[in-house]
């Protein structure tokens, strides 16, 4: 083909063909209708390896329209390889506008974080999911786990939490912390830190989960109960950080540890880069941000 080199006209809008998008949309609709239930779908080969977000990309490709504004984050950051590549991919195949600002996005595709800024009505959060089955590590038989979901036999999930307490004295699971959706299905929220679990509860945004290799889609519709499993005498708790973000001074946010040198020096900074930047733009300062001058751009900042 002699396609012009500056466009990729031979691709359908958003890469997937329309029949595939219809199929995925049907799966999404079913998933929304049964919150937390894993809907099988015919996952396609995508131009990226499994584990790089093929499930999330297919979900995004099926719901994105020309007017959407896309934000992509990887561990909270807009500027890491996975985020940059996926953002570029949709710019190329859908010509959509992109942003790093959570508030401006209509679709946020995420790998393992939920933005600090509360999501609004009309926004869609698309999760990239490696292993959708929360019972997998305790019960390897897929036939059995499906039956357990169908019959609401979730005692096993608590076995895992029991083991945590027995070994560590508290529930030590810090990510992919199991939740119960709308009082019915137990769901793996993907490897997000449990810090983000409360944000899923009664969220005003639609949350969609895509697992490409495992060929499953599931969803949490807006205003849906999402409860983290726990014990009466060991209630669910989120991680707490002893210090604020070193750059923006933010409290009550999820922090990443950054090693500064080989002398043991380190700092803790916001995992959500957009959030951090906006706070610094608003004049907030952490102890390592420097007192004067314009706030450093995130791409030149200390989080690399």
């Amino acid at each position: 083909m002699n396609a012009p080199s500056d466009t990729i006209a031979q691709y359908n809008f958003a890469y997937l063909d329309e029949q595939t998008k219809r199929m995925i949309r049907r799966a999404i609709l079913k998933a929304i209708a049964i919150p937390g239930y894993q809907v099988p779908f015919a996952s396609r080969e995508m131009p990226m390896p499994y584990g790089w977000g093929t499930g999330g990309v297919q979900v995004t490709a099926s719901i994105i329209g020309p007017d959407d504004v896309l934000k992509v984050i990887d561990q909270g950051a807009d500027d890491t390889t996975n985020a940059v590549s996926i953002r570029a991919f949709f710019q190329k195949v859908a010509h959509v506008a992109v942003t790093t600002h959570t508030a401006d996005a209509t679709i946020v595709q995420t790998r393992h974080r939920i933005p600090e800024e509360p999501l609004k009505e009309g926004q869609v959060l698309v999760y990239q999911v490696p292993i959708p089955e929360p019972l997998r590590f305790l019960e390897p038989r897929e036939t059995e786990t499906r039956k357990m979901h169908a019959l609401e036999e979730y005692g096993l999930m608590h076995v895992k939490l029991y083991e945590d307490i027995a070994q560590h004295g508290h529930i030590a699971t810090t990510f992919a912390y199991p939740v119960k959706v709308e009082g019915r299905y137990v769901m793996d929220p993907s490897p997000t830190p449990k810090f983000d679990n409360p944000k899923m509860h009664m969220s005003r945004a639609l949350q969609l989960f895509g697992a490409g290799r495992e060929k499953r889609i599931y969803a949490v519709p807006p205003h849906t109960r999402v409860e983290s499993l726990d014990f009466e005498d060991h209630p669910f708790e989120v991680q707490r950080f002893d210090e604020p973000c070193a750059l923006c001074g933010g409290m009550d946010v999820y922090l990443d540890e950054v090693i500064l040198d080989d002398q043991g020096g380190r700092m803790f900074v916001c995992s959500d880069t957009d959030h951090c930047e906006e706070r610094r733009d608003a004049g907030h300062r952490g102890h390592l941000a420097g007192e004067d001058g314009p706030p450093s751009s995130i791409s030149e900042g200390g989080t690399q």
């Binding site: 305790l138 039956k147 019959l151 036999e153 005692g155 096993l156 608590h158 076995v159 029991y162 083991e163 307490i165 027995a166 070994q167 726990d230 014990f231 009466e232 005498d233 060991h234």
Partner: protein
Amino acid sequence: MTDEPLLRVRSVSKFYGNRIGCEDISFDLWPGEVLAVVGESGSGKTTLLNCLSTRLMPTSGSVAYRMRDNAFHDLYRMSEAERRMLMRTDWGFVHQNPADGLRMTVSAGANVGERLMAVGDRHYGRIRAAATDWLGRVEIAEDRIDDQPRAFSGGMRQRLQIARNLVTGPRLVFMDEPTGGLDVSVQARLLDLLRGLVHELGLSAIVVTHDLAVARLLSHRMIVMKDGHVVESGLTDRVLDDPQAPYTQLLVSSILQV
């Protein structure tokens, strides 16, 4: 307490193609009664056990269980959810190989606690206390509670499996060669433990075994099976002391005397 059986078995048959697994088996099991099903390998005793415990759908016949509301329910007309609920609350199943009945990669405490969590107990302290208590009752030291059964001996695993089954206070326990793979001394300890627990808890049990000594020690009543059929049944000491059927006489006379 009503004077009715716990389990009513009527004309249960299981065919594998045109091969007989077991044929036309009927009996009642009463509360507190231990029934031994004996016979050699291939006699159909395990097929029967599986048909009774909903693990295998019989070709014909009915198995009715008296639930806690005293109403009889046909096991094979229940929904799968009800059957599975029954299996993990009111029933127990002790496998010959403990690895089939345990989760080998979670701790002993969690193995025992799982059934409590499955019926909705959400208090860690209480679950752990119950697990500790049950490990004690099956003579497993308390300090092994956080060890995985992979680190246990065969006899300990079997005792753990029993604790795991009994923690929810079941009324009926199925046992498939519970002392099968164990040393003689370990067997004696397990048998004695089982006997004590069955007495103490007033359990009903169906024990499949090829070992007549096990049947003698544990059971009130016996069924002798051969080629899928019951050849003799009755009070355990009557069957063993005065066997009537040729096959039972052969079995009894084949016991090695020490």
